[in-house]
């Protein structure tokens, strides 16, 4: 069959029109992808580095804490001090192990897609929430170790007995440290909840 140029042009034009006509199943392409791509990509990449630095910082800190506690226990080899330091060591090591476990699968997205980046960002926030819940328990457990240890330290063998001021200073300092830590956890939880809400909103927009 011989087709002239006019016929071929008309055929191509009809195909072009059909090809370009919108598919009813298509969703709008502008805003969700721009928002998700620009904001999430930047955030996920920044936080990936942050996560690695945080993990390295945690390991270094816990190593330092364990060394310090061990040295303290070696210098004060009475059973109470050793038990308290061993408990604190166990808590510190347990916390870092939990932290590693809690970050499994969070290092990089499963695919180079906006959905995968968004899913990773959401999962990181959820895991942070879990980490913060664990941090509350860790703080409570450490406080439970410190309260009797301070009491024991303030009752050394011999005739010297501490005054009310000594107790007030020691327990006041503990209360201050615990209070600051609790406030930090509370603030982080609040920030995490806000971030989770914002990301969930983006995720719904992207879906």
């Amino acid at each position: 069959m011989i087709r002239d140029n006019h016929e071929e042009a008309a055929e191509l034009s009809a195909w072009m029109e059909d090809w370009r006509s919108p598919d009813p199943g298509d969703t709008p392409v502008e805003a969700p992808h721009r928002l998700a791509t620009a904001a999430i990509l930047r955030q996920v990449k920044r936080r990936s580095l942050g996560l690695k630095l945080l993990t390295a910082g945690e390991v270094t800190f816990v190593t330092g804490v364990v060394i310090a506690l061990t040295l303290f226990a070696l210098r004060h080899p009475n059973p109470f001090d050793v038990a308290a330091m061993a408990s604190l060591c166990l808590l510190a090591v347990g916390a870092v192990v939990f932290s590693f476990w809690n970050r499994r699968g969070l290092w990089r997205p499963v695919a180079e897609t906006t959905t995968a980046y968004l899913a990773l960002a959401l999962e990181r926030v959820r895991r942070r929430q879990r980490g913060l819940r664990a941090a509350r328990w860790l703080l409570a457990a450490e406080t439970a170790v410190f309260i009797p240890w301070i009491w024991h330290t303030l009752h050394p063998p011999g005739t010297w007995r501490p005054g009310l001021l000594h107790f007030a200073l020691a327990y006041g300092y503990l209360a201050l440290v615990v209070g600051v830590a609790a406030a930090g956890i509370w603030w982080l939880e609040r920030w995490t909840r806000r971030e989770l809400a914002a990301l969930s909103e983006l995720h719904e927009g992207d879906a």
């Binding site: 055929e11 191509l12 090809w19 370009r20 006509s21 392409v29 721009r34 990509l41 959905t115």
Partner: protein, 189 residues
């Protein structure tokens, strides 16, 4: 003095980011549907197609800071889309394809008792065209989809890294195959 330089650098960086987001927004607004169709040519499964489209958008966002207008915007976008499409196809080549296709969907809604003119409505005709394009050999499909998007042979040659003559050969073959497929399927060529 150093503080002023730093402030200028920060201001410049912020302006650049805003400018980049604006450019990205405009590109997606103008060419988003075409990129989605390019993704559709490489992937049958609707969910994976959406993933591929997002992958393309992400690649565009990542490549945009390096785009200095050496080629036209369309060439830049379609090069990314087709490269991502090829990577996607290679990645999923060994996985089973979803059979749910727009042709099958269109056939479900077509009324077999109605006259050929009525049965072959706009939706079905479009679905047949898309189905046929997706089944073309890759080289032919690439040349044809870009032609259908209005790219010139020169632009297609730039995207694919081939000569304009080669584009013409591929396009001629694609049109012949498409015509045959549509005729065999009962649609108007």
């Amino acid at each position: 003095m150093e503080a002023v330089t730093q402030a200028r650098a920060m201001l410049g960086s912020a302006t650049e980011t805003l400018d980049l987001e604006g450019r990205y927004d405009r590109l997606l607004r103008e060419h988003g549907p075409a990129l989605r169709r390019a993704a559709a040519a490489y992937e049958f499964d609707p969910a994976r197609r959406e993933d591929l489209f997002q992958d393309i958008c992400l690649a565009v966002w990542q490549a945009l800071p390096r785009f200095r207008g050496e080629a036209s915007e369309r060439t830049f976008l379609f090069r990314i889309a087709h490269n991502r499409g090829l990577t996607h196809r290679a990645r999923y080549a060994r996985q089973p394809r979803a059979v749910a296709d727009d042709l099958a969907a269109a056939e479900e809604v077509a009324d077999p008792g109605a006259s050929p003119e009525a049965a072959l409505g706009d939706a079905e005709r479009r679905a047949r065209l898309r189905h046929a394009v997706r089944h073309l050999p890759l080289a032919a499909q690439q040349a044809l989809t870009m032609t259908l998007e209005g790219l010139t042979p020169r632009e297609i040659a730039d995207v694919l890294g081939i000569t304009e003559n080669n584009v013409a050969v591929r396009l001629s073959r694609a049109r012949r195959l498409l015509r045959e497929t549509l005729t065999a399927a009962g649609g108007a060529p």
